[in-house]
Amino acid sequence: MLNFFYRNRGQILTLTWEHLWLVGVAMLIAILVGVPLGILVSRRAWLRKPVLGSTNVLQTIPSLALFGFLLPAPWLGERADRLAIVALVFYALLPIVRNTYTGILGIDPAVRESAIGMGMTDRDLLLRIELPLSAPFIVAGIRIATVTAVGVATIAAAIGAGGLGELIFRGVAMVNDQLILAGAVPAALLALFADLALGFAEKRLRTPR
């Protein structure tokens, strides 16, 4: 087994790198879109249902189907990795948006009231109070989204986007357990590592009470 890994280390490393790249880019975009969306939703109550509802629906679409749906899209269909990243972003949005806005709404009303009463602008309130206090929740959302994305990204291989899924699909097709494991074990390790690192960050950001 280890011998197999060792012999194919070049390919496993390349695919792991591809996998990381897909997940990393997707998470970066999801954070850049999801956190502001969560902030917006915390300020405009009427947006809550449509935004959370639609991100929720996106999440219920089976990943293989989502990849398939996006395939004929004009700009997306051109490159498999582009498409995979967009699909991963879709999946990552819900936990990030939801946690951002629950984190902000969970802040003690007395804290918010005194901040406004002391003359903070909306921007001050957001940057000095709301984001720091909801940071652990936001990171928790990113953590859930990242771990999910590492798993979902293996399926991206089905549309030729690369990543560790390639080894898994090939292994399944060839009924080769070693090949499946060569994809699955690094993917699981990546997920585990992301979970630990972000869990640590979450703990560090938590305000003691």
Partner: protein
């Protein structure tokens, strides 16, 4: 009334002119309130829960705006003020102090100076000065977080924070409400001592009549959104007004026990 008193009466720090407030799509909370607060006096707003005291307080720093009438602060209607500038010129203390849990004591007190971009050195020395004023030991407490403080200490920090930019007006919403009786009376005494020195214009909400009589120079009694009247302490105790008597009687009973 002496000359200074007359002068202060002519230019009240805060004036309510037939103020009504109705929450959006909600009940009318205040109805035609008129009274004024002179510079340097402590007016205590009394009344039952839901009588409109806190609402009246929030109208002063424009956390809410009146639906009719106007609240005049420093000669200008609160709706003409830039709300941010208005709030920064008014200290605000609320019941569970509303301290920021992710800021230590020093950072909490420095909030308004930092919003106003004071030079670092000025802020540091102001914080040190205020900690002494409110009786907090700087060396042991400056870097503690709110959850590491006692209720009384938190409230002292809340007061120091409200005083940081040396505002002329101080609004206090049941500032000593959540404290045990001993700490409470300690802080009340210190408030009196502080007020003697600083002479701020203070509007304080409480539903404890004894606290009102101890700390207030005048008492304004609210009942179901209306103002039953604003009285001096003596007037209040001797008043024949039915609402006042009704309000006082349970406290009399309590005192008799």
């Amino acid at each position: 009334m002496d000359a200074a008193g007359e002068d202060a009466a002519k230019f009240p720090a805060i004036e309510f002119r037939s103020v009504s407030y109705q929450a959006p799509a909600g009940p009318r909370i205040l109805d035609g309130i008129s009274f004024s607060v002179a510079r340097g006096e402590t007016v205590v707003l009394l009344g039952r829960s839901g009588a409109g005291k806190t609402t009246a307080l929030k109208l002063i720093n424009r956390l809410i705006a009146p639906t009719a009438g106007s609240v005049v602060v420093g000669g200008r209607s609160t709706t003409e003020w830039d709300p941010i500038a208005l709030r920064r010129s008014i200290g605000y203390v609320i019941q569970d102090s509303g301290l920021f849990p992710h800021y230590n004591v020093e950072q909490n007190i420095a909030v308004v100076p930092n919003l106003e971009h004071w030079p670092r050195q000025r802020t540091v020395s102001r914080v040190a000065e205020l900690m002494e004023v409110v009786g907090l030991d700087r060396s042991s407490l400056a870097f503690r977080y709110p959850h590491q403080l006692s209720g009384g200490q938190r409230q002292r920090v809340g007061v120091a924070r409200a005083l940081a930019a040396d505002p002329e007006i101080l609004l206090m919403d049941e500032p000593f409400g959540a404290l045990d009786p001993i700490t409470r009376s300690e802080l009340q005494d210190e408030f009196l001592r502080l007020q003697q020195r600083l002479r701020k214009t203070v509007v304080m909400v409480t539903h404890d009549l004894r606290e009102g009589l101890l700390l207030g120079s005048r008492l304004a009694l609210f009942e179901a959104g209306r103002l039953a009247g604003a009285f001096s302490k003596d007037e209040f105790a001797r008043s024949n007004d039915k609402t006042v008597q009704q309000y006082i009687s349970p406290f009399r009973h309590q005192a008799a026990l």
